[in-house]
Homo-oligomer: 126 residues x 3
Amino acid sequence: MYIINVRSHYDAAHFIRDYNGKCERLHGHRYEVEVALGFEDLGPGGIAYDFADAKRHLREITESLDHQNLNDLPAFAEIESSAENQARYIYDEMKERLGEFGDRLLYARVWETPNQWAQYSERVIW
Amino acid sequence: MYIINVRSHYDAAHFIRDYNGKCERLHGHRYEVEVALGFEDLGPGGIAYDFADAKRHLREITESLDHQNLNDLPAFAEIESSAENQARYIYDEMKERLGEFGDRLLYARVWETPNQWAQYSERVIW
Amino acid sequence: MYIINVRSHYDAAHFIRDYNGKCERLHGHRYEVEVALGFEDLGPGGIAYDFADAKRHLREITESLDHQNLNDLPAFAEIESSAENQARYIYDEMKERLGEFGDRLLYARVWETPNQWAQYSERVIW
């Protein structure tokens, strides 16, 4: 069993609409994000899935979020821009970009600060 | 499946009583600790469990350990102050503070140095 | 359930033989590696497995890889020196050194850069 994990980041503003506390104010974070893919076997080059391709897909997503007010994006028009929902959004976008390898996606994890992260996955995963 | 994880730290002295080697000498570490909670669904604000609440609970625990000789604390009077037992202590304390959400606690992980950590959980978890 | 994790590193050169892209050129990385072991119970000293022993085993392995061209080593003569295969090699070497505790080994994870890692384990593990 092989897992590969790649990381990217985006700097963005957001606020939580339905919240009492400092997260209701427009603020921002440097978000770090990682996604992991699981494989039973290796392919050519002794590679499970090319890091370069995984990072290219992930960067496409993070570039679309970088230096944005997340609350202004269509992705977060109907749902809150919480770290949890960002993780789910990135998971869904990554899965789509992975095409036939979409079912290899294990999780997307969003670090909102160096001291807190939220993760989304379709399966029960720790 | 959503997981949230929060991190805190404490600087403390300790030694292992039943040990032959340098850990038998009184020494200290900057301990980093993280706890994770798992949820199937999100609540108001698109939030699984408020990071602020999780960090408040965890900091209460880490503040009680900060700048202490762990071996002098009641928690480690009868048991060794190993990283493993610190992880279990923090897990148990966190679970109690989480109240009705106690069963959401997945693990407590204690980084004794940047190069070694110990984790405790009630379930088999990787 | 207790897990302990230790980390080491090695600086090494490598290239992928069967690859079209920049990884086909001889280059190098500072590799960080971590291995984890799982236990149900603690032994003397409140310790699952002595961090010092785990680090000693791991360092023996990483010292054999440090400041080498991985492609010139017997370990990677027949297989590619991808991060995935390095993780598997370190897993196998660690397992052997653990002796009777070999079945406690959960995974070996190789960070090729701060933004990408590959992990090998014998079981399905996340």
